[in-house]
């Protein structure tokens, strides 16, 4: 088993999540969006969290950072040894944007339309360092724009968001996120709203920054194509749980869990003929309507009767860890 994490296991993880659960109160009862997620993240490492919408991939990170108002969060998420779940909101706020940063999907709506780009970056810096003067912050903002490869940063710093292209706005968001030299950067669907060519540029930028600053990167996406070249490990999530996890090339070469297989089969390939565009039948399970037992079984072509009874847990199967009783049985033989 290719074990990218072998050397990193000697260090302590920068982010350590155990049995994280997030439940939303809804008018029809509590909706469990995240039902027990575990993973470790080491500095310099890039972890991809993959899944459909409703799988809980974004909610996991948002809950960890205290950005979900009404949800109930239990479990543990330790950043550098500090427990984030239940942490005092003021302390959480101090960590957000300075030690752990998050960037989001739609750069068009993610930036304040009435403030200049430079001003917005400065605000992020001064929010975490009250002694930083406006002038110093402004100068550093220009610096940051250059780091994220925006041309003519001295002029651009006075631009308003609507004057910039989508790719540039995303770069600005990245600049805001790295302004305070974070240790972890969480990217929630950073390229989904962008053109394909721009996507590649942004991923390249993220990779470069990761190397330069030894950042730990969490990439949340539903697009497997983006994952392949950019990350070390993958967590595949479905219905609030991790159903498969492992090194990226292991998961891609030999996927175990039927859901992962389904996802990979949906990817169009350039090297083989495909007559029919494949997709996974059925609709994704939602927190409000979870099937019994294994939540994927209604859509799974390998399912047997017992799949509806017990929810399987992660076990080593093949080269990855997967949660599928059928596959576990096959592997045991």
């Amino acid at each position: 088993m290719t074990d990218v994490g072998a050397t990193s296991r000697e260090r302590t993880p920068v982010l350590s999540v155990r049995d994280l659960r997030v439940t939303f109160p809804t008018s029809t009862g509590p909706a469990p969006a995240v039902r027990g997620v575990d993973f470790d993240l080491y500095s310099g490492e890039a972890l991809a969290i993959v899944g459909e919408s409703g799988s809980g991939k974004s909610v996991t990170m948002l809950a960890m950072l205290g950005l979900l108002g009404r949800a109930a969060v239990t479990g543990s998420a330790k950043f550098d040894g500090t427990e984030l779940v239940g942490l005092d909101p003021a302390k959480l706020r101090a960590i957000r944007g300075s030690k752990v940063s998050m960037i989001f999907q739609d750069p068009m709506t993610s930036l304040n339309p009435v403030l200049t780009v430079g001003r917005q970056i400065s605000l992020v810096m001064r929010a975490h360092d009250s002694k930083l003067s406006k002038a110093a912050a402004a100068a550093r903002a220009v610096d940051l724009l250059e780091q994220v490869a925006i041309s003519r940063p001295q002029t651009r710093v006075h631009s308003y968001p609507h004057e910039l292209s989508g790719g540039m706005r995303q770069r600005v968001m990245i600049a805001m996120a790295i302004a305070n030299n974070p240790e972890v950067l969480i990217a929630d669907e950073p390229t989904t709203a962008l053109d394909v060519t721009v996507q590649a540029q942004i991923m390249e930028l993220l990779g470069k920054l990761r190397e330069e600053h030894n950042l730990a990167l969490v990439l949340i996406t539903h697009d497997l194509g983006v994952v392949a070249g950019a990350t070390d490990r993958v967590n595949v999530m479905y219905a609030g749980r991790v159903v498969e996890t492992g090194a990226v090339d292991a998961v891609f070469r030999v996927p175990v869990h039927p859901y992962t297989r389904g996802l990979l089969e949906c990817l169009p390939r350039l090297d083989a003929r495909q007559e029919v565009q494949v997709s996974i039948p059925g609709m994704a399970a939602t927190p409000q309507s979870l099937p019994s037992g294994c939540p994927f079984h209604p859509r799974c072509r390998y399912a047997v009767d017992s799949c509806a009874d017990v929810e399987p847990s992660l076990e080593p199967i093949g080269e990855t860890l997967a949660a599928c009783s059928v596959m576990a049985g096959v592997a045991a033989q």
Binding site: T28, G29, P30, Q288, S289, L290, H297, A303, D305
Partner: protein, 285 residues
């Protein structure tokens, strides 16, 4: 393969609509009480509103709960009778304005073209004036009386609904299911009645509720400046005018003022609650 399990945690809860809950219920109940009072008052009125029943200018006491006015009439009774002026007046004004405004707005928004332009210009012009002023001008011109005041208020108010309806109609007209109705050949009038109008009425309802209170205020204002109801009519605005001349006998103006406040507040509150409940639905939360 086993069947898909039933959704878990689904509870069927019957709840009253949001505008009937909690504090809104208080508003609805109080409006209801005013209406009942207005309707049934002649049967149980404590005194005659127009006849002097005792000494003049008495401060509130056990016999006259809100004292007596300059002619010896019971202020409390007159205040209650004021509801029989203001409530029906507002009702007539609002209903008429809504009807006229709906017709004009729907026609304008649905058929468009030069008709739309002309009508909306007219609406723009009318709405360029502060309502009080326009109502005063029209009433003064026609001759001060309750009937003319009502007419003036309708003329002032209908453009608001015309504009509202028009924007609703224009928005709904472009929705898909209306277009498909057109495609299958339904007549334009049918579409207007069956599809467009039912979807447009929500903001009208919200506005009409809040406006009810505004019309009560406007009626009282017109009477206050002598252009609406005149003495000896127990209209709230007119009563406050009497209160001005007897400034130190505070109860004469206090009672009708409080009445206005209570009624208008209840309607404003209800209108707000309605707007909140419809808004949430619109956003699909």
């Amino acid at each position: 393969m086993t069947a898909i399990a039933l959704p878990s945690g689904v509870k069927v809860v019957r709840r009253r609509p949001p505008w009937l809950r909690g504090t809104s219920l208080v508003a609805v109940v109080s409006i209801g009480m005013w209406v009942i009072v207005a309707l049934t008052l002649p049967l149980w009125s404590p005194h005659d509103p127009l006849e002097p029943i005792g000494d003049r200018l008495l401060s509130p006491n056990a016999h006259n709960w809100m004292g007596s006015d300059a002619l010896g009439r019971d202020v409390f009774t007159r205040t209650l009778w004021g509801a029989r002026q203001s409530l029906p007046i507002s009702f007539v004004v609002i209903v008429s304005s809504v009807i006229v405004g709906t017709v004009v707005g729907a026609v304008s928004g649905y058929f468009g073209g030069w008709l739309d332009t002309v009508l909306m210009r007219f609406v723009d012009i009318t709405m360029a004036f502060p309502p009080i002023l326009l109502a005063m001008a029209i009433t003064a011109s026609l001759g001060p009386s309750v009937r003319n005041a009502v007419l003036a208020m309708i003329l002032v108010w209908w453009p608001i609904y015309a504009r509202l309806l028009r924007s609703q109609v224009v928005a709904v007209r472009q929705r898909e299911h209306v277009e498909s109705a057109v495609a299958i050949g339904a007549s334009r009038w049918l579409i207007l009645r069956r599809y467009v109008l039912p979807l447009s009425y929500t903001p009208v309802l919200v506005n009409a509720t809040t406006d009810f209170g505004q019309v009560v205020l406007l009626t009282a204002s017109l009477s206050f400046v002598g252009l609406g109801a005149r003495p000896p009519s127990p209209e709230w605005g007119a009563m406050i005018t009497e209160g001005v001349t007897n400034f130190y006998d505070w109860w004469i103006a206090a009672a009708p003022g409080i009445a206005i406040l209570l009624v208008v507040f209840a309607f404003n509150f209800l209108g707000d609650a309605l707007r909140d409940s419809f808004d949430v639905k619109d956003r699909g939360r």
